[in-house]
Each structure stands twice: as C-alpha cells, then as structure tokens.
Amino acid sequence: MSDTTFAPSYGPVAIPVRELLPWAIFAGLLLMLMIYFVGAEEGATSLIRGTMVHEFVHDGRHLLGFPCH
C-alpha cells in the first residue's frame, strides 16, 4: 500500500498491476471458458462428446450473435 500513501486525499487511485495480474489470469481464463461453453462448445470445437450443450444453449447462442451451425 506504500504507493497510496502519498496520493492526494481525492481522485482515483490505480490498482498496481502486480496486484491485478493473478486475478486477471486465473479469473480471466475461467470467465472466458464460461463464454466458450455458451458460445462455441460442440460447434467448431468440442470438449464434451455429443451435442447436448449445443442444443441446450442453442437459442442463446444464436441470439448472442455466435456462429451456431
């Protein structure tokens, strides 16, 4: 927190990159995996066999703008 000690008592203070980086990497990957399952799983690529994920989120995939089939 030494970087905030001399900050003025008002105005935005940036979060240091080293504090942000682990979150950005791990949470960022997990969040993108969530989007992958809604948007692309069992379309162009497939991690799970079958087409159940694709069929289940079918309408959402179309309406969110992803290429579907």
Binding site: T4, A7, S9, Y10, G11, P12, V13, A14, I15, V17, E19, L20, W23, A24, A27, G28, L31, M32, M34, I35, F37, V38, G39, A40, G43, A44, T45, T51, M52, E55, F56, V57, H58, D59, G60, R61, H62, L63, L64, G65, F66, P67, C68, H69
Partner: protein
C-alpha cells in the same frame, strides 16, 4: 480489492443477464421460431426427414436460453470488472462511474457493434453446417482485431491528450480506429449463407433483437457496475468513508 470488484461485476452481470433474457424472450424468440419454421418447411420441400429434437423447443427457448444468457452475462460482468480494475485511475481523473460507462461504451463498440458489422448474428436456417469451423474462426479473429484496435486507439488518445486537447485527441483516435476497421473489413473474407428465399424481415428483426440483447447487457453492466464499484474504490481512494465523485 480486485476480488471484491470481480464478485460485484459478476453479480451485476447476472442481473444484466436476467433483463437481457426477458428482452430475448419478447423480441428474439419470435424470430427464432419463424426461422425454424422456415428451416422445417425447406427440409419438407426437399423431402428430408425432420431433424430429431434432442432438446425440446420449450426447453431451448426457456431454461436453455436463460442459462446461456445468464452465464454469458455473469462472465461478461466478471471480465468487465477486470478491465475496470486496470483502467480505473489510469484514465485521467475519471471517477468510477465515468470509467465504467466509458469502458461499456467502447467495449460495446469494439466487441459487439464493429465485429457484427462484418459478421452479423444469424438465425437458425442461415449458415452452412460445413463452414462452422471457418465462420467461428473468422468471427473470433474479427473480435480480437477490433479489441486490439480499440485499445490502441485509447492509447493514442492518451498520448495526444496534452498536445491536442481532449476533444481533438479523441477525434484523431476515433478516426484511426475507423481506418483500421475499414482495412480489416476489406481484407477479411465476406460470409453470406442466407438462403435465397429467407424472409428479409425476419433476418433484419433477428439481427436487431440480437444487438438489442447486447445493448441491454452492456448498458446494465456499464451503469450498474459503476454504481457498485463506487463504494469499493472510494475506500481506497480516500482511505475513509465513501465519497461522491463528479
């Protein structure tokens, strides 16, 4: 700090997802149904057996759609909060609400509007199953280029800020972004797999509904996240009780 922002971002995204689901039900589903009716009619005319229904239409348009949009909304809110965590305090003196709204505006343009001008959303019955790999690849390449161009444009605006002033710096950066977009749009291959006799009205309404869903998501996240982030960052900014920002 980042964890707090992330959790709030995902919750705001979830709320945005609920609203986007309602929007999708009312404005999107009728178009999906019409497109599927067209698809079935085409298959029947061609003498093909109807596709087996693995998941019923009721499920697809109900819990399936809700799951898709809510998961997407939560993920969008989470990623949004991470971008906010980096951008906050690095965009001049912009407060949390202004930062959040600006990220949402630029993000909506870079992630949704610009890519969809090249590769718009398509209803069922539009799109050749054999080209799904190719189309998916181009779709994501377009998004990545668009985001990179937007990040570069923001960087350019910041660099020109003191020399040209806020307005002129932003206009120059915006023009630079447009030039990149025009070049990329010309360079990447076009895709048009809309069947000859597919209703233009259904296609138009489907695409407008699709953009509308995204607009609901990004607006709620952009305005909602700024409001909740205000309290989180105020503690750090001032190391005291929450304060009001301009």
């Amino acid at each position: 700090m980042v964890g707090k922002l992330l959790l709030r971002g995902m919750l705001v995204g979830l709320v945005a997802g609920i609203l986007a689901f309602a929007f999708a039900r009312v404005y999107g589903e009728p178009q999906v149904d019409k497109a599927i009716a067209f698809e079935e009619q085409q298959a029947q005319a061609a003498g093909e057996a109807p596709e087996p229904e693995m998941v019923s239409r009721v499920t697809q348009a109900g819990i399936g759609l809700a799951t898709g949009v809510l998961v997407y909304g939560a993920a969008l809110g989470g990623l949004f909060s991470l971008v906010f965590a980096y951008a906050y305090g690095r965009l001049g003196s912009l407060g949390p609400r202004g930062t959040s709204a600006l990220i949402a505006l630029l993000g909506f343009l870079a992630v949704i509007v610009v890519p969809s001008l090249k590769y718009p959303a398509n209803p069922p019955a539009v799109g050749n199953a054999e080209t799904i790999g190719y189309r998916t690849e181009l779709f994501f390449i377009m998004i990545v280029i668009s985001i990179a161009a937007m990040v570069a444009a923001v960087g350019l605006a910041q660099r020109l800020w003191t020399r040209l002033g806020a307005w002129n710096a932003s206009i120059v950066a915006g023009l630079a972004f447009l030039v990149v977009f025009a070049l990329v749009k010309a360079a990447l291959p076009d895709i048009n797999e809309v069947p000859e006799n597919f209703s233009a009205t259904v296609l138009w309404q489907f695409r407008v509904a699709s953009l509308g869903i995204q607009l609901v998501l990004w607006t709620v996240v952009g305005l909602g996240f700024g409001a909740v982030a205000e309290r989180v960052v105020a503690v750090r900014d001032q190391r005291g009780p929450a304060r009001r920002y301009a």
